[in-house]
Amino acid sequence: MSCGNPQTEQDALMIRRKKFDQARTCVKCKTNSGSIVVRYAVYCKECFFPLVASKFRRSLEPTINPITDGPRRRGLKASGNLLLGLSGGLGSTVLLDLVNRTYFKEPSTENGIEKPRGGKDHPRNGSVWAKTAVCYVETCSAFSGVRDKTEEIRAVVDKYDRFDFIPLRIEDAFDNAWWENIGGPPTQQEFGVDVTNEDLFLSTFATGETDSPVSCLKNYIASLPTQTAVPSAVQTLTRLLLLHTAMMTASSHLLLGTSLTSLSISLISSISQGGGFVVREEAQEEWTPRMSVDSNTTERKAGTVRTVRPLRDIGMKECGIWAWWNGLHIVGRERFPGGRQSIGALTKDFIIGLERDYPSTVSTIARTCAKLAPKEGADSICLICERPAQYGIQDWKARISIRSFEDLSSASYRPSHFPERIIKTSPTTPNPPRSPSLTPLLCYACHTTLTSRSIRGTTTNSSMIRRQSVPLPVWVNSRFDIDEKSNGEIWARTQMKGDQMKASIAEFLLNG
């Protein structure tokens, strides 16, 4: 009989595989000695570069033409410009280099410039994107003790002469001037939310009454109930700033440097925070601006922005080797203070540890999640993250965890210790008029970010919260209006464009 001690029994533990399968010779050219092991396969330095470049193109090119996965024989032509999101981390720096090498560098030979096939005016040899910009969102204002890296990032971008640089700051998410600058409608009324209640009741204050954007940002961050919520909120704000910038620059594509490892981390992290409904969007998404855009400020009519992660088949290790062999300068990203115990950081530690022992797991996670789709149609779009929101979220939450005895009067069984007088009086007592609630307008993950608390107590920093009502990002403010005549009911408001109106009545128009 077995004693159950793994130290004396080999088969009690999973046996770790060897780091590479067969020989030390490159599996591609089968002549050179290998320089790197990628998931058990050995590659030499010469074969490694085309391997990464082809994985990059294989992920990106099916998404460049307006019809995804459509024919590409006539060449690649995007419907708009290109925006690259640069964080200063490994993945985005490698992405910048790959985009430059693949689409903007003149092909050269030993004898000089090579003539493009079919001549330079052949449609195939034209630029894929007319203009390209790199956007960096500086997040140092959200955390104390984090330095501003904008100039370092600018120096990285300046090395590439084809890219414009657009520096943003995370507090722009609360800045009406930035909002109006990108073509957003002027805000008449600003809204704040009471984060102490799960219903997230809204209140209003007139424009100009609010603090500076930095104060609003700090107030927003300080009001979040857990350490997990802080990086999630910053990530959402950054994502929306990038998307709105893409819209403003008439970009059809927003490229992010999410490597295979980072993608697996963000997938598991998102699922662990209730983002299962948008698991598809974590890998690739199409975002349609909900605001109307002033045609004078943009060259292209506001259309869909396709977010693509072209490094999604390239692991962090391969990115690191690419950067090292090409001498790329990585500015680096800092973990925010106190963030080691957040779900994102825990997931990162877990996945990177797992990648060491079970290297295939990281790609398995990404491949498995790519096979998933949301179960039911989206009910609406979340006001904060602007991703699809499922219906019935609050009913589901109320059913599986009872958080109040409000409806106890109708219950068939009541706790014996609960005073009967309270049960009897509660239904007849008229409820005081309540403010409108933000909760029904949010997706599961955003609502959880704002309301789910830690067992150790809230991280909400009351000294940092300057007012009871916490300010909301500018795109949230512009999305709804309170109709005071209908008892404070909230109306989500979208200005209809001519073609949208036409589309809704198209079947009744005789002349098309």
Binding site: S2, T228, I271, I343, T368, F418
Partner: protein, 371 residues
């Protein structure tokens, strides 16, 4: 500092911080919300019909002990009209199952429920101790899983029940969602959050504790003074599951709602239709499939024992034959199977599993009732 009052009733003194919500509440309110949430799960999912005969899979551990108590309480409180039974499987693991079966026997007396204990030894002629002695620790979970699945069905058939309920809790389900993503098990991922599984002509199985936190189950047992045995199977060195479990505990510490958030995620997505279609084409080996898929394939019965099977022999009979002939790998690897085929036909004097009679409505065994 003045004692806090309960966040729910605002009258009694708060006694605990609820793991699921972080609210500070009193003991009575905790009992009420815990039981009501299980009741909500049962009613929303329409798990039972009036007059159903329901077997509670009882291991003597915390989950099944609390499940038996709560099922009895809710059945009486809300007039479900269920006939409740306890069904235990004795795998024959010395030091693991002996003590916990004593707990189940005490539960039988405390809750006044009929109990049926079915042992591997009685059904297959092998205990898990004996199996591990022959196969080692590497593949013993395959034997235990196949044998338990069939033993539960056979036990349920003997009791003539319509339904088996098990004590799988929210932590188990969240852990399974993560595990299935990490090992790429799409078929299981699509179904692991289902509260109820049922194939054609099979007994329904469901998980009323689907949304109940493991910590709250322990808390409930503690405050209700329910006794149970907390033991880990000594034969399951699943390092991979261990990683997932430790990770989930870290997530829960970071934000307690993580468990329920993962379940919500699991319920919100499904396998894409085009992927499902590909899987249907590729499906060949029914024994590598999940519970529901498995039943979909099982249109025939085992020629030796009458249990559902898509092959001539069911998996349990195949594994048992390997054990009996001293070639335990025959049911696990192709190499082992070929070796056994080369060894010649099945001997006539081989021990086999008793013939399976599906539920007929009348108990086929004498149930151990209270003295």
């Amino acid at each position: 500092m003045a004692p806090r009052t309960c966040a729910l009733c605002s009258t009694a003194k708060a006694m605990l911080k609820r793991p699921k919500t972080g609210q500070q509440i009193c003991r009575e309110c905790f009992f009420y919300v815990f039981e009501t949430e299980v009741h909500n799960t049962i009613t929303q999912s329409k798990l039972f019909r009036l007059g159903d005969r329901v077997a509670i899979g009882a291991s003597g551990g915390k989950d099944s002990t609390v499940l038996a108590y709560v099922m009895k309480t809710l059945n009486e409180r809300h007039n479900y009209g269920l006939d409740l039974f306890l069904l235990s499987i004795d795998e024959g693991i010395t030091g693991y199952r002996d003590d916990s079966l004593e707990t189940v026997k005490r539960n039988q007396q405390q809750y006044d429920m009929p109990l049926k204990i079915l042992s591997y030894d009685e059904l297959y002629g092998w205990t898990m101790d004996a199996i591990v002695e022959q196969v080692g620790r590497k593949n013993n979970c395959t034997f235990c899983g196949v044998f338990r699945r069939q033993a539960l069905d056979r036990g349920a058939a003997m009791l003539a029940v319509d339904h088996i309920v098990t004590g799988h809790n929210a932590d188990d389900i969240a852990e399974t969602v993560l595990m299935n993503i990490m090992r790429g098990d799409i078929a299981r991922l699509g179904r692991c959050t289902s509260i109820c599984t049922q194939g054609e002509d099979t007994i329904r199985r469901s998980k009323p504790f689907k949304y109940a936190y493991e910590k709250e189950i322990v808390m409930y047992a503690y405050f209700k003074k329910l006794d149970y045995f907390s033991t880990e199977c000594i034969y399951s060195p699943d390092a991979y599951r261990g990683h997932a479990r430790a990770f989930l505990k870290d997530l829960e510490a970071a934000r307690p709602s993580a468990i329920i958030d993962i379940i919500h995620s699991g319920e919100a997505f499904e396998v894409r239709e085009d992927v499902k279609a590909t899987q249907r084409v590729q499906r060949k080996d029914p024994f590598s499939l999940c519970w529901n898929d498995w039943f979909m394939c099982l249109s025939e019965t085992c020629q030796r024992c009458g249990y559902m099977s898509s092959n001539e022999l069911c998996k349990a009979c195949t594994l048992l034959e390997g054990l009996e002939r001293g070639m335990a790998n025959s049911g696990i690897t192709d190499r082992g199977r070929k070796k056994m085929e080369a060894d010649g036909p099945t001997p006539n004097n081989l021990r086999t599993i008793p013939f399976y009679n599906p539920p007929s409505g009348n108990p086929a065994v004498t149930i151990e009732t209270l003295a």
